[in-house]
C-alpha cells in the first residue's frame, strides 16, 4: 500500500513535465500579444518592443521554455508579467480562500447529498424520495450565478445575517459555499441514490436480511459502504474542479481566489501566472485521483493494493 502510493507519487513528475510542455505551448499559441497589452493603449511601438525584450518574449519559444524550466527547478515561478509581483506570492494569497471555499462546499454537499441519497433509496417511490429528488433536481438546474445573487438579496440585504462577500470572517464563506455546494450536493444525492438501489438488489443484502439483521444495519453497514465507491469517485472529481477555483462564485461574492485570478490573467495574457495556475491544477488533480484510488481500498478490501 505505502509502496503503491509512493510509486504513484513518483509517477507524478513525468506527468507534470508533459503537462508543463503542453501548457507552455498552448498559451503561447493563442493569439494576443502580452507586450502590447501590458504596455497600454497609448504605448509607442518602441515601448512595446522594449517591453517584449524585457519580458524575454522576443526569444525563440524553445529558449523561453528552457529558461522557464530552469527557474522552475529553482523554485522560482517568475513574476507576473502584468503586475510584476512574484507569482508564488500571488498564488499563496489566492489559494487559501479557494481552499476554504472548496472544503466548506464539499463538506456540506457530501453529508447532505449522501443523506438524501440514502433516504431516497430506502424510501423509494414514496414521498421522501420525491422530496429528495426534487431538491436534487433544483440544486442541479438552478444557475449558481442566480442562486448567489438571490442568497445575497435575502440573507445580506434583507436579513443582514451574512456579509455580501469578501473573506473577512467565517461568515463570509457561508453564502458562497451554499451556492457552490448546491450543484454538487444534488449530484451526489442522485449518484448515491442510484448506487444504493443497485447495491440493495445484491445477493449479500438478501443474505443479510435473511440472517435477520436489523434494517439499519443492513443499510448502514452493508449497502452504504459498498455504494460509497461511486460517490467517492464523483466527490473526488468535483473536489478537483473546485480547487481550480470557481470563477462564478468568486466573482459574485468578491472572493480573491484562483478562479478569478486565472480569468484576469488570461485576458491580459499574463503567461507566467497562467502557467503556474494550470500546473497547480494539474498537480491537484493528480493528487486527488491518487487519494480517491486509495479510498477505494479503504472502502472495499477487495481492491486493496498489494505491496509486492
Amino acid at each position: 500500500m505505502g509502496r503503491y502510493a509512493l510509486q504513484r507519487l513518483i509517477g507524478i513528475v513525468p506527468l507534470l513535465f508533459i503537462v508543463s510542455v503542453l501548457v507552455f505551448m498552448f498559451i503561447h499559441l493563442i493569439p494576443g500579444d502580452p507586450a502590447r497589452l501590458i504596455a497600454g493603449k497609448e504605448a509607442t511601438l518602441e515601448e512595446i518592443n522594449q517591453t517584449r525584450v524585457l519580458l524575454g518574449l522576443d526569444q525563440p519559444l524553445w529558449k523561453q521554455y528552457l529558461s522557464y524550466m530552469k527557474d522552475m527547478f529553482q523554485g522560482d515561478l517568475g513574476n507576473s508579467i502584468r503586475s510584476g509581483l512574484p507569482v508564488t506570492e500571488m498564488m499563496k494569497s489566492r489559494f487559501l480562500p479557494t481552499l476554504w471555499l472548496t472544503l466548506l462546499s464539499m463538506a456540506w454537499a457530501v453529508v447532505i447529498g449522501v443523506v438524501i441519497g440514502i433516504v431516497s433509496a430506502v424510501k423509494r417511490n414514496k414521498w421522501p424520495d420525491y422530496a429528495g429528488m426534487l431538491i436534487a433536481i433544483s440544486g442541479i438546474s438552478i444557475p449558481g450565478f442566480w442562486l448567489g445573487l438571490v442568497l445575497i438579496q435575502i440573507f445580506s440585504v434583507q436579513l443582514g445575517w451574512f456579509p455580501t462577500g469578501g473573506i473577512d470572517s467565517w461568515k463570509s464563506y457561508v453564502l458562497p459555499s451554499l451556492t457552490l455546494g448546491a450543484g454538487i450536493m444534488s449530484m451526489i444525492a442522485r449518484f448515491s441514490r442510484s448506487s444504493m438501489l443497485e447495491t440493495m438488489r445484491e445477493d449479500y443484502i438478501r443474505t443479510a436480511r435473511a440472517k435477520g439483521l436489523m434494517e439499519f444495519v443492513v443499510v448502514g453497514r452493508h449497502a452504504l459502504r459498498n455504494s460509497l465507491i461511486q460517490v467517492v469517485t464523483i466527490a473526488g472529481l468535483q473536489f478537483g474542479f473546485l480547487l481550480g477555483g470557481s470563477v462564478m462564485v468568486e466573482t459574485v461574492f468578491s472572493i480573491p481566489g484562483l478562479g478569478r485570478m486565472l480569468v484576469d490573467s488570461i485576458s491580459f495574457r499574463d503567461y507566467t501566472v497562467i502557467q503556474a495556475e494550470l500546473l497547480l491544477f494539474a498537480a491537484e488533480f493528480i493528487l486527488i485521483n491518487l487519494v480517491v484510488d486509495l479510498l477505494y481500498g479503504v472502502l472495499n478490501p477487495k481492491i486493496r493494493y498489494a505491496d509486492n
Binding site: 493603449k41 509607442t44 463538506a107 445573487l149 435575502i154 440585504v157 434583507q158 462577500g165 495574457r269
Partner: protein, 541 residues
C-alpha cells in the same frame, strides 16, 4: 491496521464536515425556501432596516470598485483604478481638479518661457514625505530621472521623453528644459507623482508594495485581489484634511454584489454604479447616485483607406443613419451624452461641432450618390463584453434600414488587439469598422487626437484604426504642440476638430457618464471624468 495514517485524516475530515453541516443546515432550509419562493431580486428593494443610521464602517469608509489594483508604483500605472490608488498617497507638481483641469499641487507657481521650452517651477515649502524626508527640488529630479531611465521601462517614460534637462538651482526651484515645445507637458506633470527618494533607494522595484508620497493618505495594507487600505496622514500639508481615519478599497467585480454592498452599508461608496440598477435605487432614501459626463468617448472607426469607406459620402451616410438618441437609450440605459466632437466636452480644448442629425432619407441619398443605392455588405469588429455586443447589434439594426448589411464579429480583447495590430501596412489591414472607445489618460487634447488621427499613428504604431490621413490635420497637430499660448493651441485644436468632424473617419456615437452610488452620510468622495476616484475630501456625517 493498514490505514492508520489515512484513518485519522478521514476522521478529522468527518469532524469538519459534521461541524459545517450543523452550521449550514439551518441556512440550508432557508435556501430551499427561497428557491420555492423565488422572489425576484429586483422587486425586493424594500427600505433597509438601517434607516438613516450612521455608517456601519464608522469613520473608515469602504469604497467598492469593479476591478483589482494592479500596481501602486505611480510611475508604472496604466489602469485607472491603480491611478486612483496611487493618487490617495502620492501627489505631483500639478494635479487635476474635479473637472480634470490642471491645477498646481506641490508647485507653488510656474512660468513657461516664450519659446515653450523652459518650464520653471517654484515648489511649496515644508512638505514632507510619509517617511519623514523633505520634499524638495532634488526629490523632483530623482523622480523624473527614474521615469526617464530606460532600464526601468516605466509606463510613464514617453510622457516625459521630451525633457532634455532638469536643473535645481535651489531647494525650492526646478527648471525643466524640453527638446521641443510640448503643449501637454503640464498635464503630463499632473500624472507624474512624486515618490520619496529615500524610499526609492530602500525598496527599489519593490516600491509598489511600500508606497511613500506626500499625499493625504498613508499606505496601510494591500492584499492583492481583496483590499487596499490607506490611513490618514496626520501631517498632511493641507490643514484640516483628510477628515476620515482611513479608507478601504474593495474590488467587487459583480455589479449585483456591488450594489448589494451599498444597500447593506458594507460599502459606503461604489463605482461604477451599474447603469441598469440606477432606476431601482433612485427611490431609496439612503442612497445617492451621482452622474457626470466622462472623458470616455464611444465611436466606430471607419477604415478610410478601404472601399467603400474611402468615399466621404459613405462615411457621412453612416453617421446620418445612426439614431444617437436611440443609441443612448438602448445601449447606455439613457445615461450618457451624444458625442459632438472628436473628444468629450470635459477634455482640454474641446470644441463643439454641428450634429449629424438622424436622417435615414439623407443617408440613403448619400449612399446613392456614392454609387451604393442598395447599400453593401460590411463587417464590424468589437470586444465580446455585453455592452459592445449590444452596441454592435444596435448598429447593425440601424444600418440595415439604409441597406448596409452588417456582420457582427465580437472577439475577446487580446485576440482583437492582435487582429488590429498584426497588419504592418494600411494595405494589409482587414479592419472595416471597429466599435470602440477612447479616453485620453491625462485628459490633454493631444492625447485625444494624435494617437487616433495622426497619419504617423497607423497600427501597429498607434490607434489610428480609421487609417485617417489629412495633411492639414497632421501639420496642425504638430503646430498645436508648439503653441506656447493656450489660446493659440485652443484655436488650432478647434480647427483640427472641425476638419476631422467634416471628414467623418468615425461614426460618432456618445460620451459615457461616470456614475457612482453612495450612502447619504458620505460626502466629498468624487469620481473624476476619467473614472478615477478622489477621496481627498471624504467625510462621514
Amino acid at each position: 491496521m493498514k490505514f492508520k495514517g489515512k484513518s485519522w485524516s478521514m476522521l478529522s475530515l468527518l469532524i469538519v464536515m459534521a461541524i459545517v453541516a450543523s452550521a449550514c443546515s439551518s441556512n440550508n432550509n432557508n435556501a430551499a425556501g427561497s428557491e420555492n419562493g423565488s422572489s425576484p431580486s429586483s422587486s425586493a428593494s424594500a427600505p433597509s432596516e438601517s434607516g438613516a443610521a450612521p455608517s456601519k464602517n464608522g469613520n473608515n469608509p469602504v469604497i467598492a470598485v469593479n476591478a483589482n489594483f494592479i500596481t501602486l508604483d505611480p510611475h508604472n500605472t496604466s489602469d485607472t483604478l491603480s491611478i486612483t490608488g496611487a493618487r490617495t498617497m502620492y501627489e505631483g507638481l500639478m494635479g487635476f481638479d474635479d473637472n480634470m483641469q490642471v491645477v498646481p499641487v506641490l508647485a507653488e507657481s510656474y512660468e513657461i518661457s516664450e519659446d515653450g521650452l523652459v518650464y520653471t517651477f517654484k515648489l511649496k515649502q515644508n512638505i514632507k514625505f510619509h517617511d519623514g524626508t523633505d520634499f524638495n527640488s532634488e526629490a523632483v529630479k530623482v523622480n523624473i530621472e527614474r521615469i526617464l531611465d530606460e532600464k526601468n521601462n516605466l509606463r510613464f517614460r514617453k510622457s516625459f521623453a521630451k525633457v532634455s534637462k532638469i536643473e535645481t538651482p535651489d531647494a525650492a526651484t526646478v527648471v525643466f528644459t524640453l527638446s521641443e515645445p510640448y503643449n501637454a507637458f503640464l498635464n503630463k506633470l499632473a500624472m507624474g507623482l512624486m515618490i520619496s527618494p529615500a524610499a526609492l533607494t530602500e525598496f527599489g522595484t519593490d516600491i509598489s508594495k511600500h508606497p511613500s508620497g506626500t499625499g493625504p493618505f498613508k499606505f496601510k495594507e494591500w492584499v492583492e485581489g481583496d483590499r487596499l487600505v490607506v490611513e490618514k496622514n496626520p501631517d498632511y500639508w493641507q490643514q484640516g484634511l483628510p477628515k476620515v481615519d482611513s479608507v478601504t478599497f474593495k474590488p467587487v467585480p459583480e455589479n449585483g454584489s456591488r450594489i448589494a454592498m451599498l444597500k447593506t452599508g458594507e460599502a459606503d461608496f461604489i463605482y461604477p454604479m451599474p447603469t441598469e440598477q440606477v432606476a431601482e435605487v433612485e427611490g431609496d432614501g439612503n442612497i445617492v447616485v451621482d452622474k457626470i459626463d466622462s472623458t470616455i468617448v464611444r465611436y466606430i472607426t471607419l477604415n478610410t483607406m478601404k472601399k467603400p469607406y474611402d468615399d466621404l459620402k459613405v462615411r457621412q451616410a453612416i453617421n446620418y443613419a445612426i439614431d444617437k438618441d436611440a443609441y443612448l437609450k438602448v445601449v447606455k440605459s439613457g445615461l450618457g451624452a451624444k458625442l459632438d466632437s472628436t473628444m468629450s466636452s470635459k477634455t482640454q480644448f474641446y470644441s463643439q461641432q454641428p450634429a449629424y442629425d438622424y436622417d435615414v432619407e439623407k443617408a440613403k441619398q448619400l449612399l446613392s450618390e456614392a454609387g451604393y443605392p442598395d447599400g453593401f455588405d460590411a463587417e464590424i469588429w468589437g470586444e465580446n463584453d455585453s455592452e459592445s455586443v449590444k452596441g454592435m447589434q444596435f448598429i447593425k439594426q440601424q444600418l440595415e434600414l439604409v441597406g448596409i448589411k452588417l456582420e457582427v464579429k465580437s472577439m475577446e480583447g487580446a485576440t482583437l488587439s492582435d487582429q488590429i495590430n498584426t497588419p504592418a501596412t494600411p494595405a494589409d489591414a482587414k479592419i472595416q469598422m471597429w466599435f470602440v472607445s477612447w479616453s485620453p489618460s491625462s485628459n490633454d487634447a493631444d492625447g485625444a487626437t494624435r494617437g487616433l488621427f495622426s497619419s504617423t499613428m497607423f497600427p501597429p504604431a498607434g490607434s489610428n484604426t480609421a487609417y485617417y490621413k489629412n495633411d492639414n490635420v497632421d501639420k496642425w497637430i504638430e503646430d498645436a504642440n508648439k503653441a506656447t499660448d493656450p489660446e493659440t493651441a485652443k484655436t488650432i485644436f478647434a480647427d483640427i476638430q472641425k476638419q476631422i468632424w467634416a471628414d467623418a473617419p468615425w461614426a460618432f456615437l456618445g460620451v459615457d457618464q461616470v456614475i457612482s452610488g453612495k450612502r447619504n452620510n458620505i460626502e466629498g468622495v468624487t469620481v473624476l471624468p476619467d473614472g478615477s476616484i478622489n477621496i481627498l475630501k471624504a467625510e462621514v456625517k
